[in-house]
Structures are given as C-alpha cells and as structure tokens.
C-alpha cells in the first residue's frame, strides 16, 4: 500500500493547499500536479480540489477539462486509479465525462457557504470505503453550481448500481434525489460537492471529513 496522492492545480484552483494539509493529516504523502503537465507523476491517487479553475468562465470545468493533465487523469482512472473531485473538481470530472450528470446553479441562485449533513449511502467507493454506512457526517458546502442534475435514465442507473455514495440530509441546493456525491461504474472515480478537507479539526468545527479522506489512501 502506497500513499502518494496528487492534487491537481489549475490556474484558479484554490483548495489545493488545504488538500495537502488535510491529506497529510490522514497519513498520505500529498504533492501538487500542474495542469500543464501531461502526467499524474506516478501517484497512487488523484484529487481534483475545489476552486474556480479558469475562473469558472463559460461553465465551471469547461476549460479545465481540456488541460493536458486531464488526459493523464482519464488514463489513470481508466486503469482503475482512485480519482476524487471535490466541488470544482466534481464539476471538472462531469465536464470531462468521467462522471455522469452536471452541476447547475443552486436552487436559490445564490452562492452557499454553510454547514451540511451528509448521509453515507454506499461504502462501496474509494471515497467512502472507510466510512460507516448510514452515518451522518457534518461536512461544509461552498458552491454556486452544486445542484446535481441528470436525466431520468442516468438517475435510475445510479440508483440501481448503488452509485449515489452521499446524500444531503437537508438538500441545500436542489440536487436531484438529494445527491451530494456519486461514483463511476468502476467505483474508483468519485465526485462530491461538500468539502471533506474543511471537516478535519475540532477547532474548525468537525472532524467528520477524515473518514472520507482516509478512504482515499486506505
């Protein structure tokens, strides 16, 4: 078991340092991956952190998905490597077609930075395998476009295949079926809007994110 975790930096990413700090807390050896490099640098897991890659101009993730590093990330994911997209990273993964669906503007049409409660719906994913099924986690959200949307067929498939890994207890943004996080068919690519790295210290109000981050390097 190896613990090298690559955190992708696009111009406009802003949670990359927080990810480094949080991943170090769970015993990983995190490092940054630059958007312009066509490689994941031999890491054991990739995290695409939050922020505003390319300013979120046009659509969140729309420009970032074409970065050279994303081709390498897609290859890494296809080979079964763990890839987690958080917030803007989730948006990038859906734009890149590595996860189904899309993230629309929040139902209230406002940016929302607030505490949220998440229920662990499936522990069969690289983000939730160390969490407890049914557990309710306090993990904050921080987004404008976090309203998860997909067509009925995709939703049925996600449900049937148990790929909705996290749901909001009290839906803050209008996401279909209260979805906070989903995984791909291989269960090695996960996207979620909430920020587990912000729930890693009692001083900051919650340590519930640690179980999720531990899963990445479990």
């Amino acid at each position: 078991m190896s613990r090298r975790v690559g955190v992708v930096v696009f111009p406009g990413s802003n949670c990359e340092q927080d990810m480094l700090e949080a991943m170090a807390l769970v015993g990983a050896e995190p490092e940054l991956l630059w958007h312009g490099d066509e490689t994941t640098n031999g890491v054991d897991a990739v995290i695409i952190p939050g922020g505003f890659a390319h300013g979120d101009y046009l659509r969140p993730g729309a420009i970032a998905r074409f970065s050279p590093v994303m081709a390498a990330v897609a290859e890494f994911a296809a080979a079964g490597g763990p890839v987690v997209g958080i917030c803007n990273g989730f948006q990038v993964l859906t734009e890149a077609g590595l996860l189904p669906g899309a993230l629309q503007k929040n139902r209230g049409l406002k940016f929302l930075c607030a505490p949220a409660e998440l229920r662990v719906e499936s522990t069969d994913s690289i983000l939730t395998r160390s969490a407890e099924a049914g557990a309710v986690l306090q993990v904050p959200i921080n987004h404008f476009e976090g309203n998860y949307t997909c067509d009925a067929e995709t939703l049925a498939q996600l449900r049937d295949e148990n790929r909705i890994v996290l749901r909001y207890v009290d839906n803050p943004n209008g996401s279909v079926d209260d979805i906070a996080g989903v995984c791909n068919a291989g269960r090695n690519v996960v996207g979620l809007m909430p920020h587990p790295e912000r729930a890693t210290s009692e001083l900051l109000g919650s340590t519930d994110g640690l179980a999720l981050l531990r899963s990445i390097v479990a």
Binding site: P11, G12, N14, C15, Q17, D18, E21, A22, G51, F52, H54, G55, D56, Y57, K110, F111, L112, C113, A114, P140, N142, F144, H195, E197, R198, T200, S201, E202, L203, L204, G205
Partner: protein
Amino acid sequence: MDDAIHRSLGLTDEEYGDICRIIGRDPNHLELAMYAVMWSEHCSYKSSRIHLKRLPTEAPWVLVGPGENAGVVDVGDGIAAALRIESHNHPSAIEPYQGAATGVGGILRDIFTMGARPIAIMDPLRFGPLDDPRSRWIAEGVVSGVSGYGNSVGVPTIGGETVFDETYKGNPLVNVLCLGLLPTDRLVLGQATGVGNLAVLLGSSTGRDGIGGVSVLASAGFSDEESDAEKRPSVQVGDPFEEKRLIEACLELLDARLVVGIQDLGGAGLACATSETASRGGMGMDVDVNAIPRREQGMEPFEVMTSESQERMLAIVEPADLERVLAICERWEVRAAMIGIVTPGPATGDADGGRLRILDGFDGDVLCDIPAASLHEDAPLYNRPCIAPASFDEATRTLGTEPMPESTDVAAELLELLADNRWVFSQYDHQLFLNTVEGPGGDAAVLRLKHPVTGVDTGRGMALTTDGNHRWCAVDPRQGTALTVAESLLNLACVGARPLAVVNCLNFGNPEHPEVMWQLSEAIDGMAEACVAFESPVIGGNVSLYNESLGSDIDPTPVVGMFGLIDSLDRRPPGVGLVNGGRLLLLGTTQPELAGSRWARARGHRGGRLPSIDFAEHLRVAGVTRSLVASGLLAGVHDVSNGGLAVALTEMAVRSNLGISAARIATVAELFSESPSRVILCVPPENIAAVENVCSGAGVPVSRIGVAGGDRISVKGLLDIPLADAVSAWTDRIPSALGAGTAQD
C-alpha cells in the same frame, strides 16, 4: 492654455498655479491629467491629512505604519501581518456588483504588494433602508460582487457587519478590509531603487475603463440623474481569475527574491504607481508609454497613464533577473511588459534627478517631464473650516434639547431591532485555508495562526473585528468614535484576543461643509484618545469624503478594524450562545442613557448626550473577559452593544434556540441603553463561584441577571415574548426583504 480645462479636471486655480510653479511652465494635457488625479481628494487626502497626524501610529511591534500600501505588525514566530482597509462607496452606488468586486480586488493587491499572502477579508457594508427598492438593488449587487470576486479569487471573507439605515440611501458604504501574512524577512516596500533597474508591468492590459475613475467618482457627490449618467463609463469590471494568477505569480516572484520593490495599481493607475515607487525610493523613472499593453486602440497617453484598469502590478526588477521574472509570469499566464527604467534621483546624489518622464518610445519624444515626488509631496494640504452644529452644546457635549420619547410596546420595539446577517455571509466562502475557527456572525472572527510559507501551526490565534456606529457619531463624533474603538476592543476580548493594531475607514460627507470637517476632526480625536488608552496603534486607514446624496451628508461613519492575537488557541471560544440552565451574568455597569441608541433612532430621536466611558474600567472589563474566555469556565459570551441588553440577550437566545428569564433590569432605558464596558456571560451553575471570584479579583462589577432555558424571552416587569417570535423576526428580516424584488430607480 485654456484655464477651463484644469477646472473641469477638478483642479482649483490655486492648484493650477502651484503646478506651473513646480514645473516652471504651463503643464501639457498629460501632465495636467496626472496632477489632477494625483491631487484629487481621493488620492491626496488634501482635506484630511492635517487631522490624521493626530492619530497614534507607533508601537514596538509596528513594522510599517500608515503611508505604505498596508500597515504591518510583527505577530511573532517570524510572522508579520499586513492589514489594510479601503472604501469603494461611490463606484458601488452606480454599479453595485462591479463596484464591490473591484473594491475587493484593490484591497487584495494592497496586501500582496507588501509580500503578504492575503488570508482573510472583512466587509463592513452599509445600505439604505430595506423598504427602498434601489437600496435593495444596491445591497444585492454589492453582496453578490463581494461573493463573486472574493470566492473566486480564493480569499475567505470572514466577517463584516451589514447595516441598513436611511442615512445611506443612494450612498452605500462598501468598506473592505484585508489581512495578509508574510514571513517577517520577506517584507517588501513599494519603492524603486537602483539606477537602471526595470519597471515591469504585470497583469491585465490597460483599457479606457476607469479613466480617472476612482478619483473623479470619489471626489464628487451625486446630485442628480444627469451627472450620474455622465460618470457611468468610469466603472471598471473586475476579473478575479486574473487577480488569482497575479497573486500567485507575485508571491512566487517575491519568494524567489526577484523584485526589489513592487506596487499595485489602484487609484490614478500608472501615474500613481510610477511616481510613487520612484519618489519613495528617492529616484526618478523613465516610462515608455508605447510599451504599455493596451486593450483598445487609439488610446491617448493621458488615458494610458491615468486608467484604473484592474488587476495590474508594477514590479521593480534588476535587469539580470528580467528573464526569470518573465518566465514565472508566463507559467501563471500573467502578461508582463518592461515599461520603465529607474533613473537617478536625489537619493543618488543627483539633485536634478528624480524626474518622472513619460516618453514616446525610450528614444522618442518626451511627453511629460515632472518631479516624481511632486505628485505626492507637493499635493495641496487644506485646513478647511470646522464648525460644530449650532444645536451641539460643546460644554456638555449634548446635541439638541428634544426629550427622549416614551416606550409604548417594548416587545415590538425589540423585535424590530433584530436581524440575522446570515443571508449575506452564507454567500461568502469563509472557510478557505482551514483557518476559520469563528466565522462571520460572532463578536469577532477567529483564525488559526499558521506560518504563511511552512504552514506550521503556532497554536496561537488571530482575531478581527470591524465596527462602526453612525448613530453615536451623529450625536457626538468624538465620543461616538471613542465608543466604537471601545466596542472593537470588547469584541476581541469576547473571543479571547488582545488588540495589536487598528485600521480605520473614515466615511464622511462633503468636506467643504464646515460641520462635516468638524465631525471628521472630532472623530479623529476620539479615535486617538481611545487608541492611546488601549495601546492600539493606527497602522493604516482610508478617508472617503463626499458621501452625500442630493446635498445631504451621510451621518459620520468612522469604521474601525481591530486586529488582535490569542495567545493560546487550544479550544474554540465559547461564542455567542447559551446552554440550558446556564446562569446569565452581566459584567460592568449600565448607564440608563438612550441617546444615540438604536432604540432612540428607531423612535426618530437623534440627539442628547452619549453614555460616558472610563477607559481604565473598560480595559478591566476586557481583561477579565479575555481571561474568562481562555479559562473554559464559560458556556457563552456576548458584548452589549447596539440594541443594548435587550438585543444582546435575545441574540444569545435565538442563536441557541433557548429562552431566557432575566430580572434586575429596572427600566426601558436600562434595557436598551448602549453604555459601554459591558459583557453578558452564560455560566454553567457549577462555575459561578469561580467566575465571580475572577471578576471581584479584578475589581470588575458583576451581577446575576438571569438564567437560560424555556421557550420565552422574559425580562421581569418589562418584556415577555415567545422565543419563536424573536427567532422568526431575527431570521426572516433580511431574506424576506431582499427576496422582495429590486429596482435601479
């Protein structure tokens, strides 16, 4: 030269004469435009400088005081904190989103100019009343602008109060404070040194947006629709994505020690940045106006030099480092262009040097040739007349003689004072960087203090608060400002912090009105008295004048930003809240005085004599509060400020969804008085004796005034309402008003 031109640029005949004397001839259009923007009220502080000198600015821990881009204090462990506050009032009045957004962008540049990574923003906002559609339009746009820019650029907005009042109708106050951290040894100044060094312009290209923008906009009030419309093209559009890349590129340049000086481009654009870096360094500078990347064709040199296009920085670099500088910029996709060369000045022994020359190509015609320092140091200094209002009795410091109205319905009077600002701050990312221990909504924001480069946690904390009170200052600007500083101190104490430094944003009306100048002068005296008493140096500030609408000056609104340290941050401070069965203790004594209170203003009363303050007593209360917060004996703590005991107790109740039962508050005046030096504690019963011992040991009066629990808010003999009524009044006021539709006119 047509003498109408200088007047239309806002220069007086005397000022024009000064310019002619300084350069020994009539200025050309380019030179005149540069003097006009640099000598505007906004850039030169010509009306306020004479008074600002009275503020205390020194302390052993102050590394950089007022006058630089930001004040800097030493916070220990090899870390320094840079702090600055600014206003963006006038641009926000006409284009709220972009006005607020570019305000955030500007303050961030002031901070990373010092070599500091910006780590937190505070936004004190003041708008017209919620029942006015245009004020709602402004409020929604400003909050969206702060959110849109601040979140995207990646700096958390951790606090700042939001106030709605008639006095700000048509003239919002959009102030923004930024805190940054740097390794003490990386401190850089905005100066150009070394003859032959290069001036490199980083960031956005230069466009016509904001030609004379800040300067002209900030120096004239809004009189009517017509002139409003004429001023419109001066508003700029912010680009947080550009700024984010600019921050990363500049900090990397500083880390690599590749710049000898760096300066942001704000008001007056390149005219200011080139002349200021040169004159601070005691040098001159040659600038090739053609080398400046432009967004539009056909721009005149005066447009290029005074444009306030956003997201630009001027770095002074040694020629040998230019290539590495350009490479780092390219990596961050930041445009970089060598536009100037540092030339000799008085500091090099060249008495004839120190010229700022704007050239049409480095070998081309000289378009402007003036002493660089004259744009700053020779700016006019006015001692404008100051006259107290006729209704102010200076002997007793009492405004007017109108009697205080009677209370008719205490419950209703309380409910109308409640408002939760969550609608505002939930739109701000307040958690980025994993520092935020106490975010917006508390008495003060609390951050972990981590080393800005190594990330090592010092185990200590930082606290920030911004406070302003136009109601107090309208009654007595001197006492009102002193009380405001005192409130900041107590806010810090409530999270366990001791003060280190103050920055101020002085929002006032038209300085050509003698009453406004009196207010400004008095406010500065009040601030000086309090800051001296609290050993809190003023390390920077901003003066925003001409805040008026249709000829009516706003109430004087000095906003205080206070920064403090928490010596040991091993647990979360108790915060504004209650526990069931907790006993309510009041530190300090209540003066039954309603003058200047929110209760009085809501009844239409605007005069009287403000409560007094005993600075020594105040420091004792703050000291006891600080040690109690650190002791872990408290379940909740809240200072008593606007709305008095009534609002402070109710806020504790609604935030915990727990009732309270209070007594020993005898009168409506005691209930709503805003007299200073008071703190409410919620103490678990088993800790009461210990807490009272600490208070009596320090000579601070403490009284038991009630208990937390139940589902009513009651004050014996005065008030008894269901908790749910208070919760809904508090929760619903802002969202229901701002969801009610807006209009630009």
